[in-house]
Symmetry: C2
Subunit: 340 residues, 2 copies
Amino acid sequence: MSAAADDAQGNREDSGEDRLIARYFRPLATDPGAFDLRDDAATLMPPPGMEVVLQADALVGGVHFFPDDPADLVARKALRVNLSDLAAKGATPAGFLLTLALPAETSEAWLQDFARGLGDDAAAFGCPLLGGDTVRTSGPVVISISAFGLVPQGRMVRRAGAQAGDVIVVTGTIGDSALGLLLRTDAAAAARWKLDHVERGTLAERYLLPQPRLALAKAVLEHATAAMDVSDGLAGDLAKLCGVSGVDAEVDAAKVPFSAAAAKAIAAEPGLLQGALSGGDDYEIIATLPAAKLGALRSAGAATGVPVTEIGRIVAGRGGARFFDHGQQLAFERTSFSHF
Amino acid sequence: MSAAADDAQGNREDSGEDRLIARYFRPLATDPGAFDLRDDAATLMPPPGMEVVLQADALVGGVHFFPDDPADLVARKALRVNLSDLAAKGATPAGFLLTLALPAETSEAWLQDFARGLGDDAAAFGCPLLGGDTVRTSGPVVISISAFGLVPQGRMVRRAGAQAGDVIVVTGTIGDSALGLLLRTDAAAAARWKLDHVERGTLAERYLLPQPRLALAKAVLEHATAAMDVSDGLAGDLAKLCGVSGVDAEVDAAKVPFSAAAAKAIAAEPGLLQGALSGGDDYEIIATLPAAKLGALRSAGAATGVPVTEIGRIVAGRGGARFFDHGQQLAFERTSFSHF
């Protein structure tokens, strides 16, 4: 990025920030409400009967991704962790705001890749850039995204709402991302876990690039009594859902869906089971629903290519989640990831 | 902030982040759509006929504020720079999302002051916290706020819309904040500018704490053909407005409203005039409107305590802003602030 070019008349000057926006981000602002990023704000008009679902997540270089992760994947992850929340709330994406704090040494190539990845996913998931802000920082890259979705008024799927008797389901597989992160920081782990090249790649990719379960959002909206995305670890996130719902969860750890790679790692090192159940970055949906609706949700999953697995039951309680492994309750060292 | 307390059963565990949110930010989430910050997302339902105005601005420690600025003022500035944009768009505040990247050394006292300042302004301006995210960073504090307002559908006051013949007005006074920043970095300046204690305080405070002109938002919505908030310098921001509107602006620098303190500084050091007109951080509204509506806007300003000053005219052109000082066109070294 270059310094602002100065025009002796002070006319039609474009600042470096303006050029950065024009070059990299304007092509992503495909919604008419974004006004081509030529205004201070955007507009969003929910269709009649719909309301806006709003949520924000930030990613920090060196904390949520490695400084040398490809910039296009970093951008896609930043958007996808937000889309994952929208999916779990039963919302259809409508757009997002981006604030980007960039160190001075950020290269044009990094920005170009970042914008390309972001644009690809914005298009793929129907979630256009509506606006934002780019600023300098003396620290690592900070990517903050506020994402907006639409649901019928009053119908956002809450964390609160799980009922005793409900079944508990989870999408996809659990623990891959946490194990993928371990592989990044422990070079010897892959050999210890007896993983082949493909299995290593599976786990590594799950850490780099979450798969937001938007394809299932409509079915979640229709059938779930409560739902949230699993971002800080299945055990802790389920406990949070139960806490707000005022119920308990009983999960059969043997039913929790693991990928072949994760299953192999856990078989080689049984202590990894806890890490897989509490490690975070899964970006799957955990939902509760009446047993009678399980078939319908499974069918929706089959139709959209999203695996849906029953892992346990909601019972009366005061807000906790218990995991059992062959009848023995697991005692977690910690149930979820927290930065603080 | 303390590490997560671990419960051997993994039940009802509250992470450090949960406690941080509960202690400092839950009291600010007064809107029912925030679900007490106990869910993954918030909801916003615009009243019939209204649409949502969305915008985001980020502040970085050491860039937008000094690391030793009081945390309550930092928080209030972070919210106010966003509210300033909503005001200029003619929008009524509806709420905001906050993502906060915090260094490990952030103290409880800083957080407490930050939350108090943020809460005070959220209440004062009717803009409750709806949700957000707190994350760790190895760099300086990054505060990203996405603010939401409401306008009648299709009525957001755009940058585009200025018409040849319109008068140009600006609220409040210009340049105080840029001069206040100079005072912070040049200890000898106050004496050179012959400022007394009160005048120094006026300029310093304008840098620390902008005054969003929400009181005038309704009148701007009613009367302005185009508007924006002056955040990156009057000269450059007006040029941007003209660029999008496809017109030129002619401003009489002698009409630009300066505070007594700024006028004294400029009188002592005439070279400061350019800095005052292009320095940024004013957070005033610049608007264009038909001359016939000037009286109505002035009356609204008088009724709400917001000074409204006519500074020039819109003329046919291709998108530039010219400033004249006693008939001589000013040649700016640079017309606005840019981070890049």
